[in-house]
Symmetry: C2
Subunit: 458 residues, 2 copies
C-alpha cells in the first residue's frame, strides 16, 4: 500500500504543543498576567450587552443546565464549548480589549475564553492556563501577520486568525502532540471566517465573530485529541487559508522568532474605548491641543493622516447611528477626546450624538499618509493637521499611543481600568469585582483554575 509522505510538523505546531510556562521569560509572564486581568474587565463590561445576551441565551439553551465551565457573571455554568461561546462574545463588546498592532488582531477575546473554559473543565493549574494562553497569543498573532493586509481589508482577523489562536490554546491545555496540534490547526483553519461587511450597518457580528472563533477553535482541538485529522498545510497549501483569503501572505511570519520573539509582550492595551485605528489620531489631536492651548471652538478642520487600514475600516462609517458604530467613526472619537480629554465608555454612551460632538465630528476627515502607511502595522503613528478658526495650520504627532508596549499601563492602571469596566457593565458589584481582580493577579499560583466570579457552580 502506497503511503502519503509523512507530514512535516510545522514549527508553529511544534511550538504550540510543547510550550511550558518555564520557557516564557519572566517579563513576558508578567505581561501575560497583565493581559489576563485587562481581559477580565472587558468581559464584565460586555457581558450584559444586548448582542452578548443573545449569544449567552443561545449558548445556555444548547448546552447542559450545568457544566464544569463558568459563564462569567451570568450565574450559570455550561460545557466548555458553550461557556467559550458566551464569554468570547462578551470579551470584545466594549472595544476595550487588547490589540496586537502588527497583526491587527485582538488576542484576549479569542484566547482567554476558550482556554479558561477548558482549564476549568480539566482542572488545569494557573500556570498551565497561562502557558496555553501564551501559545494562543503567539500562534494567533503570527497567523494574523501571515495573512497580511490584503486579508484584513475584507476579513476580521480577530475572527479568522482567532480560530487558530483558540485551537492552539485549547490544544496546549489538552496536551496535544505536535502532530495532533497540526491537525487541530487544519480543522481550525477550515472553519476560519469573519467578514467586515457588518460594519456598514453597525450589525452585531463582532460578538458573533469572537464567539465563533473561540468555539470553532475549541472544537478543532478536542477533535484532534480524538484522532480527527485536518489539512497538513492549512496555511500555505494551494487550497489553504492564504490561497483563499489573502493576496499578500508571508509564510515567514508563521515561525518568526518562535521562542525568542515574544509577540504576547508586543500586545497593546486599549486606552480609548473605540476601534484601535482611531487611537493614534486621537492622541495626536490631544497632543496638538495641549501644546497650543486650543479649545474646541478654535478648531475649524482636522485632517487625520492615516494608514490604508484605517480608511478601510473607518471609512464606511460617516454618520454613526449607534454607540457601537460611533466607535468606528474617526470624527466622533476625536470629538469626544477633544471635548473630554479621553473617549471612554461613558462618553460614548452619553455624548456620541450630542450637538457639540456632531459639529466637531463633521470637521474631521481622513487622508492616506505614506509615512504612516509604510510604518503600519508595526508602528501606529498618529498624525493630524488642525486648521484653526483664526487661520493657523498646526501639526500634532505621537509615535506610540498610550497602551502600546513602549508606553504601557502599570498594574495599578490595569486594575483601575478593569474596575471601571466592571462598574460600567453593572454585572457584578464593586466588592465582588475588586475581590475577583485581586484573585486574578494571583493566577500563576493557582493549583487548579476555579471560578472567577463568586461561586457560579451552584
Amino acid at each position: 500500500m502506497k503511503q502519503e509522505p509523512q507530514a512535516t510538523i510545522h514549527p508553529l505546531a511544534q511550538f504550540a504543543a510543547t510550550l511550558q510556562w518555564s520557557d516564557v521569560p519572566t517579563p513576558v509572564q508578567r505581561r501575560t498576567e497583565d493581559l489576563w486581568v485587562d481581559w477580565f474587565g472587558s468581559v464584565l463590561a460586555g457581558c450584559k450587552a444586548r448582542p452578548v445576551a443573545s449569544i449567552v441565551r443561545f449558548a445556555l439553551s444548547q448546552g447542559p443546565a450545568q457544566g464544569p465551565s463558568e459563564v462569567i457573571a451570568q450565574g450559570a455554568t455550561s460545557s466548555p464549548m458553550m461557556a467559550a461561546l458566551a464569554n468570547a462574545a462578551a470579551s470584545h463588546f466594549a472595544e476595550q480589549d487588547d490589540v496586537h498592532n502588527g497583526s491587527v488582531f485582538h488576542p484576549a477575546a479569542v484566547v482567554f475564553p476558550p482556554a479558561l473554559a477548558v482549564a476549568q473543565s480539566i482542572g488545569a493549574s494557573g500556570e498551565q492556563l497561562m502557558a496555553a494562553c501564551v501559545a494562543g497569543y503567539e500562534v494567533g498573532i503570527r497567523v494574523g501577520e501571515f495573512l497580511g493586509r490584503s486579508h484584513y481589508r475584507i476579513f476580521h482577523t480577530t475572527a479568522t486568525a482567532g480560530t487558530l489562536a483558540a485551537a492552539a490554546a485549547v490544544g496546549r491545555l489538552l496536551g496535544l502532540t505536535p502532530a495532533q496540534m497540526q491537525h487541530a490547526f487544519g480543522s481550525a483553519g477550515t472553519q476560519s471566517a469573519g467578514l467586515w461587511e457588518f460594519l456598514r450597518t453597525a450589525a452585531d457580528s463582532k460578538q458573533l465573530h469572537t464567539a465563533h472563533a473561540a468555539a470553532a477553535g475549541l472544537m478543532a482541538a478536542y477533535l484532534a485529541q480524538d484522532g480527527f485529522t485536518g489539512a497538513q498545510d492549512i496555511f500555505t497549501g494551494p487550497q489553504g487559508m492564504a490561497a483563499g483569503m489573502s493576496s499578500d501572505a508571508n509564510p515567514a511570519k508563521l515561525a518568526d522568532g518562535l521562542g525568542t520573539r515574544w509577540a504576547t509582550a508586543e500586545t497593546s492595551f486599549k486606552w480609548h474605548a473605540s476601534c484601535r485605528h482611531t487611537h493614534p489620531a486621537a492622541d495626536a489631536l490631544l497632543q496638538v491641543m495641549q501644546q497650543h492651548g486650543l479649545r474646541i471652538e478654535d478648531i475649524a478642520r482636522v485632517t487625520c493622516h492615516v494608514h490604508q487600514g484605517a480608511i478601510d475600516v473607518l471609512g464606511p462609517v460617516t454618520s454613526p447611528s449607534t454607540v457601537h458604530q460611533s466607535k468606528f467613526s474617526m470624527g466622533t472619537v476625536l470629538a469626544l477626546a477633544a471635548r473630554f480629554g479621553h473617549a471612554g465608555l461613558t462618553e460614548f454612551d452619553a455624548e456620541f450624538l450630542a450637538a457639540d460632538t456632531v459639529a466637531l465630528r463633521d470637521k474631521v476627515a481622513m487622508a492616506l499618509d505614506p509615512e504612516v502607511d509604510a510604518a503600519y502595522p508595526q508602528r501606529w503613528i498618529g498624525k493630524v493637521t488642525v486648521q484653526t478658526t483664526d487661520g493657523r495650520v498646526l501639526h500634532g504627532r505621537v509615535d506610540e499611543p498610550k497602551g502600546d508596549p513602549g508606553n504601557t499601563l502599570s498594574r495599578e492602571e490595569i486594575t483601575a481600568k478593569a474596575l471601571r469596566l466592571a462598574d460600567y457593565g453593572g454585572a457584578v458589584g464593586a466588592q465582588a469585582a475588586q475581590a475577583a481582580v485581586a484573585r486574578l493577579w494571583q493566577v500563576g499560583s493557582w493549583p487548579r483554575v476555579g471560578t472567577l466570579v463568586g461561586d457560579a457552580t451552584h
Copy 2:
C-alpha cells in the same frame, strides 16, 4: 438622531421567510420527499464512521444529556445545535448524498440535519419541515451559483453556501420575518468557511464542514429570532462574501427565478459512491465498454475529457491511500466501474487498492475539454477516449449521468439505495431501516415531526 437608510430586503430573504408548502408545485414536493429519503440513507451509511464518531462524541459531550432532537441511530438525543452537528457530519461521509450540478453543492447534508433538529424541538409538522427544507435548498443552491467557479476552486461550496442554506431552513421553521431572515443571512455568511486543502492528505474535514455549516447556520437563525443583527448585504457588499471569497460572483443568480424556477428539483441523486466529478466519465467509460464489448484487458489507456473543476478537485489525488481519498481518484473510480459495472461503497472498501484496480487506475488521465468545460456546471457531460491494446481509439459519451434530473431514480430505486446504505452503515437492523424508510415517505402527512429511527428519546 440620524438613522441609517432602511435596509432593503433582498428577494432571497423575502422568499425564504415566506415560502409555504402549498407554494411548492406538486412535482417539486414529490422530489423533495425523494431527496429526504435519499438523505436518510446517507446518514445511516455514515453515522458510525470514525470521523463522524469523533464529531458525535464531541457534540454529545458539549450538549445536554437529553434533548428534544435526535442524534440519528446513536441512541441519543441532544439540543438542536448538537444534533445538527452530529447528523450533518454523518450525512456527507459516504459520498452518496445528493448534489446540485449548477452550484456544485450538496444540499441534503446541510439542510435536512439542522431542519430536522429544529422541527423536532419546536414540534413542527412534516409539511412545515419540508417547506423549510425547500427554502434551504433554494437559498443554498443560489448562493453556490452566485459564488461561482472561482470560489469552488479554493472553497468547499457545500460548507460555505451550506451555512446560508442551514440558516434559511432553520429560519423558516422559526418563523423569521423577512428582515430577521436577512439578519440571519448576515450572521450565517460571516461564519461561512471551508477550504479544499484537506483533500491533499485525505484529512477528515469534509465531515467537519457539513457539521460546521449546519451548526453555524442554525445559530445564525436562532440569534436573528432573538433580535441579533447581521450584515444587510452579506452577499455583494464591498466586504462581503463575494469580495472575500470569489472573483466571478454573479449577483443575478441570487434571485434567479425565485418561485418559478425550482432548483430543488434540479438536484441530482448520486449513483456511484464517489465524488460527483468522477461520475460523467465513469458512465461514459461504461457506455463505450458496453458498445464495443470491451473487457478490462482490452484497455491500454483512458483519457477523461473533463471540466476544470474536476482537475482542481481530483488532480491532487494521484495515489490514494485511504478509501475516502480513492473516491476522489478518477483512475480508481473508473477502474472499479470497469471491473464491477458500478463503483459502490462495497467495491471501494474491498477493492480500491487491489492490483487489478491499481493497474487500470494508472492508465487513466484527465485532460481539460473546452466543450465539457463550457457546459459545466449546468451540464455535466461525460467524455472519454479509450485506446485499446490492439490499437483502436474509441470514444464514449453521456450527456446526463444516471441520477441527474432527466435520468432520475424511481422511488423504488431510492428506497433500495437507502436500504443498501443502511445495511452498509450497520447502525440499524434491516427491519428498523425498512420501517423508518416507509415512515419517511409519509413525511407530508406528519402532524408533528417525531423520531426517525425507533424511539431514541429514552
